[in-house]
Each structure stands twice: as structure tokens, then as C-alpha cells.
Subunit: 339 residues, 2 copies
DNA sequence: GTGTTGCAGTAAATCGGTTTACTTATCGTT
DNA sequence: AACGATAAGTAAACCGATTTACTGCAACAC
């Protein structure tokens, strides 16, 4: 069933049917409109999106691009992604758009595809600064980046106060009497949320007069299995830590598991703080103390910007960062009057 | 940049460019092909997907339809969905298709949209039997249902042995000496995985000569907050249970939390078994004993069927159900010689 | 020398919509 | 009565690809 058949059945031209569908009231009399609408309903006719997009040059399609990590190559390797995607989906749907989801190794490779799909806009999750220019230059639809650091680039980015998050993480541990700190984190060398968190963490240590050396950094992927390994390494490594800061919750989960497997108890033997505040923090015992970010807030902000740009046919520049805090639970113990 | 411009630059017709793109070797000489390919690469040209779909009547788009539950209206309300989606995305990508994700209240409402998008195929997650006929009748692209019970309908369904899962759940508890059982479950009246699991559970109890009454059923949504509430209800309800079977992990997580909040310890005071074997089972303390299903298997099977149907332009009928087992962890205690 | 076959390539139709430019009829003004 | 404005509707062009039917031309068989 297509527009031509509807037009024939209603005894009008395609143009008139199109005008009815698109609510161009001034072009159609009430009488004809009703007749056409009746037939459309009877036939259960829905206009072909492809044909419409072709001429309108808009698709009501929003791309969501998620870089994958590790070898699993799915977005759930870090559940954080899943939360964000779930929230974004909700807002995309609420705005009557459609979500095209794609995980990628290198986000740059997806850009030509996005434009060949005529997507009206896109969200990019966790892109690195040096990937931004290529993305921007290859496509000029509205894009909202989440958790990207690219000062100087004219983009819309929604994130959190990562520096402050790292800072709070360290401050919190220190306030509980810890001074022998380990840090478990993905690569801190690229510009990005992790580097910022690390900087905050480092500065807080310095301010408190606590020596924090590169040797206290344990490298991991943002995946559970990788972090379990690190937990074991720490357990066996003989480093004399009283607390471990993790740069994401999924890493903290893994580290705790790794420690447990080696007979080390959290928080009695060693304290652990996470970052993200995934709902799973509540599930475990001890419940994970974590630096909290609000996914819903992020997704809402990001969507607001994206749809403002799409509907206003304009480009905005913004860098909004959510104010965050530590959610205190049970995985960090106060070192009171013991050493 | 479109095909006409490429054709002009290369001094050939659109048809030739099209033939180059689509690898119709017999229609183009090597010389021309190379020239055209060079220009395509130089210009970074990608054919417009919409235009191609319009004439080819295929879009390389796969719909993934996820019913939402509760009032959150996002797929993460039950993390189980997120796992399946993540796996499906991986296989869809591997087959060079694109994933259109949509959560819905009523799955039937999405069908006209799918067809207006010319999607080449679709996955429906957790649809009820009585929704199937309408879905099938409104659209005739290949569809694979996951976790649907619709005997007699000519569909492809991929699921697990739910009856056996419920049966194993009860058997396991009983084998550990439990006889005072509660069941926490979403509505068991609709045909579907839950009803099957319930039937298995019920039969296992009967076989073992253990009375299981409707009064031992606690109703919940498949969401964490709802299950927490139920956990509290059970704690306060004074029912003298030694073990609780939950029909999904997310529910078990919530129940355990609810119990904990009321000072009841798992598994010392009461045992809990889940269903799904989400990775989160490993995170918590006690680690959750659960009836295991393998998401990756499901997504792989489902994709194999879908792409076989799409590429073979045929309809298949199948009902494959994964053989499942109980993964024993720590949330169920053996009631040895204590009443 | 004629007929057949295969190769390389093209013009035009097509997919299912939207949009533009144009027509006709009706009405109100002056 | 002539003029313009507005309302209602249409034919045809267009979006960017694919596909069909056709054209020359060279090679080959008989």
C-alpha cells in the first residue's frame, strides 16, 4: 500500500494525500481531508520512511555510537554504557525519533555510515579528543558528545566534573584516615575523563601531603575480568595499601572480587571506592562506596541539546558538567586509631 | 556528493557507477572500474542508504523490540534485556546490518512503524502469545521471537527450557532440605516464560510431596524496587519460609535487599535462588545461586535464524530451547539436620 | 558473408514520497 | 464589469539510488 494507491482510492492526487498526511490544512478542504484520512485508516497505511527521508533529507533517525573495549566488543562490557543507552533510548523515543545503535572499535569509521543513513543527529559516548576533529569534519549534523574532553573544539559535550570526582575520591579516602593509596584505572595518558579523574586524585593527594607515585597505579581495562586480574595482582603484589580507588565501578567490582579470591576482605583488610554509582553498588556486600553520577541527568541534558539543535537547525557549543558527590556506603572503612 | 556527480567526474553513466559499487564485474571493464573506484575513494563517497533501500526494498536495518515494564520505561529496568540487546547488537553488526532499537509498551503498536521503515528483519523480546498473531499478520518480514510461548503459531522462537528451569529451581531447594518454599514472581497467568517456570516449579513440589499453595506466591514486577518491596513484605509477613525461589535474578536481588533491610540474613535465615544467572550474581555477597541461561547462545541462535531467513528470503518455523542448569553459589544453604 | 554470442556501457523507468508551479473556481472590491 | 486574492487541488519535477531494456561492436562459428 503506497501513496499512489491511497490517492486512487480517494479519487485525489498524490499531492493531496501528502498534504493530508503532513497536516497542510490550508491546501485541503475539510471534506477531502476526512475522506482521505478515512481511507488511510482503513488501509492501515503508513508512509514509507525511506522515500520521505530521501526528499526531505531528514530521517528521524538518531545514531548512538558506543566505542567498545576489550575483546568482547559489546557495549555491556561496561554496564555504564548500557545505562546511558537505556536512558537515551527513552528520550529519543519520547521525541518521536528512532535510535540506531552501533558499537565501534574506532568511532571515526562510523561517520561516513551515519551520513549515508541521513541520520538527523548522533550521540557519541566517550570519544577521545583527537577523534573529535575528524568526526566533526566528516559530517555536519548535530552531534552531542558524552564524556569527552576537547577544549577548543566547537562541540556540545555533556559530562560530569571528572576532576572533582577524582579529587573527591581521594579526599574521601584520606578523610577516613587512609594514606597508603592504590589507584586502579584504565590508561591515564589520553585526554579524557580518566585523565581528569586521575589529575583530581593526584592533586588531592598532594594537597594532603600524601605521596602518590606512579608505582601505585594499576592499569586495567574497563571490564570485569580485567579488573579481577588486577585485584589478584594487588593481593599478591605485597604493596602495603589500606585503600584502593577505582576509576569506574565495574573495575571496583572486579578488584573486590579479585581481592576476595585471595582471601582479602573488603573493607576490613583494605578499603575500596568506586566511580559511577551503578545500581549494582547496592547489590553487593559490602555495598560499594562510589563517586556518584546521574545517568538520567546526563541523558536528559544530552537529548535536550541534540533536539534543540535538530529542531532549530543550528549548531550550539556547550560543555555542561554535572556536579557530583560521593555516595557513602560500606566498602570504605575508617582507619581510626590504628597505625 | 551523489552518484550523479561521481558519474560526471568519471565520465560514465550513473548505471556504470552503480555497477561498480555493487560489484557487477561482468558489466564493467577493469579499466573503467578502477577509474570509478579511484574517484569514489577520493571523494569519500558513500551511497545514500535511503535511496538504495527505496528501490531495493531492503534496508539492512534490523528492528529490536523490547517491551518495557514498570514505569521507568527503559530497557534497563531488567538488566536481562540489556544483556540480550548487547549480544544481538554484536551479531547484527557482524553481519553488516544496522540495529534499530525501540522499547514499547504494547509491541503491536510498533509493527506498522517497522514496515514503514522497510526493516529487513526484527527481534521481539519477551512477547506474549496473544500478541503474536497481530504481529505476524501486520508484517511479513522475517522475525525471530525470543522467550515467547506460542505453540501452533508458525514462528521462530529462541528460548530456554523454562519448565525445566522452574522444575530445577524447586528440585534444587528441595534437595537442600527445604520444604517451606515461597515463590516471588511476576504474573503467572499469561502464557509465557514465567508461567512455564511456575508450572515446572509447581510440579517439582508436587512430585516431592511438598504442598505448594497459591498463598506462597508473592507477586512482583520484574524490577528491582518492586522486588525490594516484596522482600520486606515477606520479612514482615510472618510466613515461615526457609527458602525463596525468584523467577528472575533482578527480582532475587531486590528480595534479598528487602530481607536484609529487615535484618534477615541470606542464606542463614532464609535461602534464595534466582533465575537468569546475570553476571551480577557473582558480585553480591552471598553470591546468588541461580538457574543459568546463556545470553550469548540465545543471541547467536536467534541471529543465525534471522539472517538465514533474510538471506534465503524464506520463512522458517522453529522453537529452540537452551538446555539449562543450576549454578550453585552461596545464597542457598543446606538444611541438614535442623527441622 | 551471415548469424550468434558476449562484452561494455547507456538512457530511461522506477521506487514512494514531497514540493513547486500552475490552474480553476469563487468571492469580495471598487 | 474588471481585478485581485484566496481556496482547493493537480501535474510534473525531484530526491539518489537500482534495474531493465537496449545499442554498438568485436569475436567466433559455420
Amino acid at each position: 500500500m503506497n501513496i499512489t494507491e491511497i490517492a486512487k482510492k480517494a479519487g485525489v492526487s498524490k499531492a493531496t494525500v501528502s498534504n493530508v498526511i503532513n497536516g497542510k490544512l490550508s491546501k485541503v478542504s475539510d471534506e477531502t481531508r476526512e475522506r482521505v484520512e478515512k481511507i488511510i485508516k482503513e488501509e492501515g497505511y503508513k508512509p514509507n520512511v525511506m522515500a520521505r527521508s530521501l526528499v526531505k533529507k531528514e530521517s528521524r533517525l538518531i545514531g548512538v555510537v558506543v566505542p567498545y573495549l576489550g575483546k568482547d566488543e559489546d557495549f555491556f562490557a561496561n554496564p555504564y554504557n548500557a545505562h546511558i543507552i537505556a536512558s537515551l533510548e527513552k528520550f529519543i523515543r519520547a521525541n518521536d525519533y528512532y535510535l540506531m545503535l552501533r558499537c565501534v572499535g574506532d568511532p571515526r569509521e562510523i561517520v561516513p555510515l551515519l551520513s549515508s543513513w541521513n541520520v538527523d543527529g548522533a550521540f557519541f559516548l566517550g570519544i577521545y579528543k583527537d577523534e573529535v576533529p575528524q568526526i566533526k569534519s566528516q559530517i555536519d549534523i548535530p552531534i552531542v558528545f558524552l564524556d569527552t574532553y576537547a577544549p577548543g573544539e566547537e562541540i556540545v559535550n555533556i559530562g560530569i566534573e571528572d576532576y572533582r570526582g577524582g579529587y573527591l575520591s581521594a579526599r574521601y579516602l584520606i578523610s577516613k584516615g587512609h594514606s597508603k593509596l592504590a589507584l586502579v584505572t584504565p590508561d591515564i595518558s589520553s585526554e579524557g575523563v580518566i585523565k581528569e579523574r586521575y589529575r583530581g586524585f593526584y592533586d588531592a593527594c598532594r594537597e594532603a601531603g600524601i605521596p602518590f607515585k606512579k608505582g601505585n597505579i594499576y592499569n586495567t581495562e574497563s571490564t570485569y575480568p580485567s579488573a579481577v586480574q588486577v585485584g589478584q595482582d594487588i593481593a599478591f603484589g605485597g604493596g602495603d595499601y589500606t585503600a584502593i580507588a577505582c576509576m569506574s565501578d565495574i573495575v571496583a567490582f572486579g578488584v573486590i572480587e579479585g581481592l576476595k579470591q585471595c582471601g582479602i576482605r573488603v573493607p576490613y583488610d583494605i578499603s575500596v571506592i568506586g566511580f559511577d554509582n551503578l545500581p549494582d553498588c547496592e547489590l553487593m556486600t559490602p555495598k560499594l562506596t562510589s563517586v556518584a553520577q546521574d545517568f538520567e541527568w546526563k541523558a536528559k541534558k544530552a537529548s535536550d541539546y541534540l533536539f534543540k539543535m535538530i529542531e532549530g537547525k543550528c549548531h550550539l557549543v556547550a560543555d555542561e558538567r554535572q556536579h557530583i558527590r560521593v555516595v557513602e556506603r560500606q566498602s570504605v572503612r575508617a582507619l581510626s586509631d590504628r597505625t
